[in-house]
């Protein structure tokens, strides 16, 4: 399990000194708290029947914590000077992050799904940056783009870098989420703040609840999903001239930049970005074969991509053999088969479910 150590925020601080003594006890309490939240997340995701390995959990937990911290700050700022602000400040900085770890059920499946994809994108970016040989430029930079696309790609790169901040649970990260998960998370934070204020107040004050709600509304109303990395990836892909898409998609995959790859794939295949990233993280190789074939990915790039994705797709345990198997079976996966797969995933969900019920082959 990829539990994270918190640096500044110490759960032990809330306890009396006689609960434990010294640095080792403090450290142990931190680790236990981290493990507990990771376990909660893992339990939630088990219900979604998706692979959620330790590295992904650790990254997810960091993104969740950092965006909750940012939302808490934003709501607090929107409260202006009021009794409500004083009540929220009294909860202490990072209250919502600790509280959401106690209430993991607040996280909707859609939000968890987004966090998982976001974490995968960020983990691969960190990994690619660390593993690229010194002096070797990223593949995408070798493709000359006109200024509008080059600017869009630069904006996307900046947004991607925001996802790769140092993994500190008490830091803040811009919650550049699509509207629905942003809405979900913002109101989750608001609810936790209301709950915290009520617990500390001797008498519940409706004015405080109202003020927090209004502040959360203001935060939600000012959200700009168009400035988020996913929207920027889509804007970038829309502007890429058709003859350049294949080369750029290959380069994006070679650079382990899942967002531009998925956005280009969306334009090419019609598969939404979110689904494309899920396909890349799928435990089953077949959808990945089909996606790569549809995107005209060569064997070498496919191999490198799967090597990068290995920790998420369960290919690590079998080592190089699994990678070789992947490429061998990829070579046998022709365009016609990939087209059939695309047709099956693009058909109405209800039809797919019914066909699955009667054992219709994919």
């Amino acid at each position: 399990m990829g539990g994270l150590m918190t640096v500044a925020d110490d759960p032990g601080r809330e306890r009396s000194r006689n609960e434990g003594g010294g640095a080792s006890a403090t450290l142990a309490r931190r680790l236990i708290a981290d493990m507990q939240h990771s376990a909660d997340l893992a339990a939630l995701t088990d219900g979604a029947s998706r692979r959620w390995p330790g590295r992904l959990l650790a990254e997810t937990r960091f993104h969740l914590a950092a965006m909750v911290n940012a939302l808490e700050l934003a709501i607090e700022a929107a409260l202006a000077d009021s009794p409500a602000r004083a009540a929220v400040e009294a909860l202490g900085q990072g209250y919502s992050r600790r509280a959401i770890e106690r209430e993991p059920g607040l996280l909707s499946p859609d939000l968890l799904g987004h966090l998982r994809r976001r974490a995968a994108v960020a983990t691969l970016l960190r990994q690619a940056g660390a593993m690229r040989p010194r002096g070797m430029p990223p593949a995408m930079t070798s493709i000359a783009l006109e200024p509008p696309q080059a600017d869009a790609l630069a904006a996307l790169a900046i947004a991607e870098q925001g996802w790769c901040a140092p993994m500190l649970l008490d830091a803040a990260m811009r919650p550049d989420l699509p509207a629905e998960p942003f809405h979900d998370l913002a109101w989750s934070v608001a609810a936790l703040l209301v709950q915290g204020c009520e617990r500390t107040a001797e008498v519940a004050d409706p004015a405080i609840i109202r003020a927090i709600a209004q502040a959360a509304e203001a935060v939600v109303a000012h959200h700009d999903e168009g400035a988020g990395a996913i929207a920027l990836a889509r804007r970038f892909a829309r502007g890429v001239p058709a003859p350049m898409r294949a080369a750029l998609a290959r380069a994006a995959l070679a650079d382990a930049r899942l967002l531009p790859f998925a956005a280009l794939a969306e334009g090419e295949t019609g598969l939404p970005i979110e689904l494309t990233i899920e396909v890349l993280l799928d435990a089953d190789d077949m959808p990945r074969h089909a996606l790569f074939r549809l995107m005209a990915i060569d064997d070498t790039t496919a191999f490198r991509a799967v090597e990068s994705l290995a920790p998420f797709i369960g290919a690590v345990a079998d080592g190089d053999e699994a990678l070789a198997r992947f490429v061998e079976s990829y070579r046998l996966h022709d365009c016609a088969r990939a087209e059939r797969w695309l047709a099956s995933v693009m058909q109405p969900r209800a039809l797919a479910d019914k066909l699955a019920l009667i054992g219709h082959p994919r």
Binding site: A179, E180, H183, E225, R245, G270, R293, D298, D299, E328
Partner: protein, 449 residues
Amino acid sequence: MIALPIEALLDGEGRIVSAGEPLLALQRQAGGAADGPLAVPALAALVHLARRLAIPLSRAVTVADGAMDIDLWVDVRPTEEGFAMAILDWQARRPHEPTFGRDGQAGWPWQIDAHLRFQSFDADAATLGHAPPRAGDLLTAYFQLDTGAAEAEFAMPLIEALALRAPFDGQIGRLRADNAIVYQLSGEPLTEPSGALIGYRGHALRIEGTTAENPASAPDTSLFSPALAQRLDQALRQPIGRIIAHASTISGQHEGPLRQDYADYAADIAVAGRHLMALVDDLADLQAIERPDFTTLREEVDLADVARRAAGLLKVRAGARQIRIQAPTVDEQLIVRAEYRRTLQILVNLVGNAVRYSPPASMVWVRVDEDGGRARAVVADQGSGIDPADHERIFERFERLGRSGDGGSGLGLYLSRRLARAMGGDVTLESAPGQGARFTLDLPLWTGG
């Protein structure tokens, strides 16, 4: 041309208060009134979501417009009166029309083997309007590969794909029989279960017009893009160098004794690595030679001395098969105008080929002489000889006359001839089956500075 952004104001119930004409046209097509509720489903859904969540939205939606799809990028922002909508991008396209990577493209299908020879195709003269290829013909003999008007980044998709065993698209090929007929080739690699490349299959799509102003005088542009050459160098040279070094260390048992069969495996790996390195060198040379600005130096070179050195370099390899190389004697001298390094490269290639294809315990002769004001170096062997019908073909790129597994890249003779011609000379062949081969390097004599 649609002026962007296209703006609209909607009331709290999603009714149009005001809107730009393109949006109103979509509204009318969807059966809605100019002042009625928004009737374009994807846009109405966006407004509904913005209302439900009380949140601004900025995202792509696709709407139908007759036979076309229109991809829009739309901002929807809740306001005190309702919603402000802005369409920031408008792209019309056919519904989900892929641009690459699919089967079923127009054009006739073909399949070639790893030596680029046609194995099968589905085309006849009546349909094509010209003669189809014959089974066994080289693809490069049927089509003259061309960069056309393609960007320099991927000048020769087929050749680049061949080096990387990747699918390719957009390779321009002119019919050699009729230069005005131009095709666009696309294909994907065929591999054995073991991963070995066994050929390509794809489609040839005839395209209108020509890709250059004057095809007959179209410059012979670079076979490889600089990007590929750089990639090959980065991707292959260093790792292969390491493989050779490590395998040589293991096979030489420099780090301690080793089971003999393991040492032999390592020796095999080192040999294979050297072959690969030679191929990378050849490809790098090819990239350099095919550039329009490629030139050679004009130096005073003793052709007899170069011939002796080439023979000396290959003496060990020849000795392993009891082949003797008879080189010019040390007192012979023949001064030519050429580049020393390139002349040595040509002669090493010619003598190397002679050793490779000579029977064990035979002779290879390397002679130099002067004839009609020109200098000649002749390399003759006692091999099986080459059919006159193949005498020109053997100088083509990647042409190996069906031989494989002998460590050659199919580029050596092509490079040798190109280099010789760049120095004002040539490489020619005289041979007949069963009578050995006689390659002649012709160069201009040195006539002073």
